[in-house]
């Protein structure tokens, strides 16, 4: 989600690292660029101002002058400030001593409330709770219907009736009490923060059922206005937190940074995909790391757990270590990796990648090209690429819509990688291939593999 911001910080810090000591002017320049990077990430203007001021204060004081590595110090300061803005510790949901615990969801149209309600219900079930979903969105066509279907997926019953939102909510809570559900999650209609009548309505819903938790459901791709919306909902409802949705996109997520800071309320949960299971607690430190390009291994592992086949992966690892990793194995791994998301975001999650590698032009079509070449080979050719002569190469190139040079490059580079893996051990690759192999051509790529890691 924060890929572009991470790229920008990387550029800024590389420039800083190039200098020995930092003059005030250097820090100013870095701060100017940080301001630009944050604005481009949809962080609210006011928050950007405060954040830059805080970083400036810490960076021009004694802290920095004593530091042996000023650039590293700046990175550290930015990381800390970002983590603080994002919310410090993770939010904890606690349950009412007298059930049911009532949770109310509100927000703009299209923010993802109905889906979030179902996801939250499933999450609560996993915690051993027995939630009831209440469909109080009587405005949007088929909204209750949608909740019923999602509720089935989530394993939670849904209550609704064609009356009015306040009555539905009240009856919903009564129903939960009657049948012994210990949590109620109320979905409401999307409403504009500037619509006084509808804001009044949601206030009345809250007054009728006195929820223990009132969450604003906010879209991660929201722009500068998100903050104003959040403030308006907060004034009407006295929010307890925010559920940030659609985090699986590449939106820079400035709304997340801004809401906590200005509202003083945490981001409680995040929705990270289209499946009902794609819902988790928000982790501020993980987000801060991603912004700064420090990778996000935890997210990578989580995504891989969902996408990778354990047996296939274990087998591939063994073969890689034994030096028997073939193009077939590689092709298989390529298929698995594609399920992790776009190449750019996968790269963003990998720690310790040399900068040149991260900066290289990234195109998912390269993946397709590599796949096509491998697929155009016969099983024998994949098993033992040394048998590929001129005519075979031409056939493969024709079959995959590439050139003989492309085929050559793939074979040669794959062979180099195999050798690298064998000789330096797998740890070598994770550290950016520092135990560099000697490379003949390749421009930037050869530089990137020859000990570029820090």
């Amino acid at each position: 989600m924060f890929e572009t911001l991470a790229d920008r910080f990387d550029q800024i810090f590389t420039r800083l690292r190039g200098r020995g000591r930092l003059a005030a002017a250097d820090v100013d320049e870095a701060l100017r660029e940080i301001r630009v990077a944050l604005l481009e990430a949809d962080v609210h203007l006011d928050v950007v101002r405060d954040l830059v001021a805080a970083i400036r204060e810490r960076c021009t004081g004694a802290e920095l002058s004593k530091s042996l590595s000023p650039a590293q110090q700046v990175v550290k300061v930015v990381n800390e400030e970002l983590t603080a803005v994002l919310g410090g510790e993770a939010f904890r949901l606690t349950f009412a001593s007298r059930p049911p615990t009532v949770i109310l969801l509100a927000g703009l149209q299209g923010s993802g409330k109905t889906t979030a309600a179902a996801k939250l219900a499933r999450y609560l079930r996993q915690q051993g709770r027995h939630p009831l979903l209440v469909g109080a969105d009587l405005q949007r066509p088929a909204a209750v219907e949608q909740l019923r279907v999602l509720g089935r997926d989530a394993g939670a019953a849904v209550f609704s009736e064609p009356s009015d939102p306040v009555t539905v909510a009240r009856r919903g809570v009564a129903e939960a009490e009657r049948v012994g559900r210990d949590v109620v999650v109320i979905d409401t209609a999307g409403r504009l923060a500037v619509d006084e009548a509808l804001m009044d309505e949601v206030r009345r819903v809250a007054e009728a059922v006195r929820p223990h938790y009132r969450f604003l459901v906010l879209d991660a791709m929201a722009g500068q206005d998100a903050l104003r919306t959040a403030i308006a909902f907060h004034e009407s409802l006295d929010l307890d937190g925010v559920i940030l949705t659609k985090l699986d996109g590449d939106a820079r997520g400035g709304a997340a940074l801004s809401v906590k800071k200005v509202l003083g309320r945490p981001i409680a949960f995040v929705s990270t995909g289209e499946k009902v299971a794609d819902f988790e607690q928000f982790h501020p430190d993980r987000m801060a790391s991603r912004i700064l390009g420090m990778g996000d291994v935890l997210t990578l592992i989580e995504r891989a757990e969902r996408a990778y086949d354990a047996q296939v992966t274990a087998r591939a690892m063994e073969r890689l270590q034994a030096g028997r990793f073939t193009l077939d194995d590689f092709h298989e791994q390529l298929q698995q990796m594609k399920r992790l998301g776009p190449l750019k975001s996968v790269i963003g999650m990998l720690p310790g990648l040399p900068k040149e590698l991260k900066d290289a032009p990234i195109d998912d079509r390269d993946v397709t090209r590599v796949e096509a070449i491998i697929r155009s080979m016969t099983p024998e050719e994949r098993d033992d690429p040394t048998i590929i002569n001129g005519s075979r190469r031409a056939r493969i190139a024709a079959g995959s819509g590439t050139t003989a040079t492309d085929v050559n490059n793939l074979l040669r580079q794959f062979k180099e990688m195999q050798r690298l893996m064998r000789s330096s051990g797998l740890a070598g690759l994770a550290r950016g291939g520092r135990r560099g192999a000697k490379r003949k051509k390749g421009g930037r790529t050869s530089a990137s593999l020859k000990g570029a890691g820090r």
């Binding site: 990430a41 949809d42 203007l45 088929a142 997926d153 289209e274 990578l300 490059n409």
Partner: protein, 348 residues
């Protein structure tokens, strides 16, 4: 770059191995279960009301932006601080830094050259003209070419595709066109039901498939049906999808390919964008355009407090015309995009 692909695949493998193995779970897209009858539909709306004027709808919402520019208006002369205030106002409107800077640089130059007076009012008028000029030369018409003409509605989750289809169907019906709705969102729970309610409200036909069916085939069926009945337009709904999802964008490409087969002709691919969207809107426009060739943008939810400035960036950097604007949840809450009105509303 091949070396990069190889390195990444192996790096992922290594990281996973180093962290102790991976649980076997296959990735699945869930199928929505068949829907039982829900609560009775609200009474069908007669879309007889007048479409709203942009100025009225956004009036109340503009107050805060008006406040920052009100300060500017009270200044006696135009200096760098004034330009800083203008920059802030445009950024707050989600216009984005690059486009904002481009607009303001032109304005600065005009002031320096004496073409624009250095007073606040002249400055704001000039900026309004710059914004309008940005949209000049666009073809904002909606093409009815084809028998039937097929209009695909695409966009990310929650943008307002289905509601926009309802509004467009109402408008086409009012002008005497026959419309068939294609329930091409076969993923979202009760999406077909939602669109069915709109077909009832607008007296248009609808073609649905089973939940989880292939969207291309549902849309194809709708086109066949429309052709057989001699209908004028097929409005095809598609599932909301994040532009970063490779397989979903691939699915969309297929939808377009299939829809373009005779007798269908895809004459509009309308990207629906929420006015509250920030800079990500530009990425959306870029990726969707690359995948299926966007012919126009529908900007929704402009009746809220968000200014929808992202469309300036979309127009400036990608040249995609903004064709329609959504101003509410009723069938009649749809207007043609008007640069003058939009600029006036943007700048207060």
């Amino acid at each position: 770059m091949t070396i990069l692909v190889i390195a990444i695949v192996l790096a992922v493998l290594v990281v996973l191995a180093a962290t102790g193995g991976v649980v076997a779970l296959r990735r699945r897209r869930p199928r929505a279960a068949p829907a039982p009858p829900g609560p009775p539909a609200p009474p069908a709306e007669v879309a007889a009301g007048e479409p709203p004027r942009l100025a009225e709808r956004v009036g109340a919402a503009r107050q805060a932006l008006g406040a920052s520019l009100a300060a500017l208006r009270r200044r006696e002369r135009v200096d760098e601080a004034a330009f800083a205030e203008l920059e802030e106002a445009l950024i707050l409107a989600d216009v984005g830094l690059p486009t904002t800077r481009r607009l303001l640089d032109r304005l600065r130059e005009a002031v320096r050259a004496g073409r624009v007076g250095a007073e606040p009012k002249a400055l704001l008028d000039a900026l309004r003209e710059e914004v309008v000029a940005l949209f000049a030369g666009e073809d904002r018409s909606l093409s009815l070419e084809g028998a039937p003409a097929v209009w695909l509605f695409v966009g990310v989750n929650g943008a307002g595709k289905t509601t926009s289809i309802g509004k467009v169907a109402a408008r086409l019906a009012r002008s005497g066109r026959s419309v068939v709705l294609a329930a091409g969102d076969t993923f979202r729970a009760a999406a077909g039901d939602q669109l069915t309610l709109w077909s009832e409200r607008t007296s248009s036909e609808i073609v649905r498939g089973a939940d989880g069916a292939d969207p291309s085939s549902v849309i194809f069926d709708a086109i066949q049906h429309a052709a057989a009945r001699g209908a004028d337009v097929v409005l095809a709904d598609t599932a909301g999808r994040l532009h970063t999802k490779v397989n979903l964008m691939e699915e969309l490409r297929k939808v377009r390919r299939v829809a373009d087969r005779p007798p269908g002709k895809v004459s509009e691919v309308l990207l629906v964008i929420d006015a509250t969207t920030g800079q990500n809107g530009l990425a959306q426009a870029r990726e969707f355009s690359e995948a299926v060739g966007v012919t126009g943008v529908v900007l929704t939810k402009l009746d809220g407090s968000a200014k929808g400035g992202i469309v300036l960036a979309i127009r400036a950097e990608l040249g995609i015309p903004i064709k329609l604007v959504g101003l509410g949840e009723r069938a009649e809450d749809l207007v043609d995009f008007d640069p003058g009105e939009f600029a006036a509303a943007l700048l207060g």
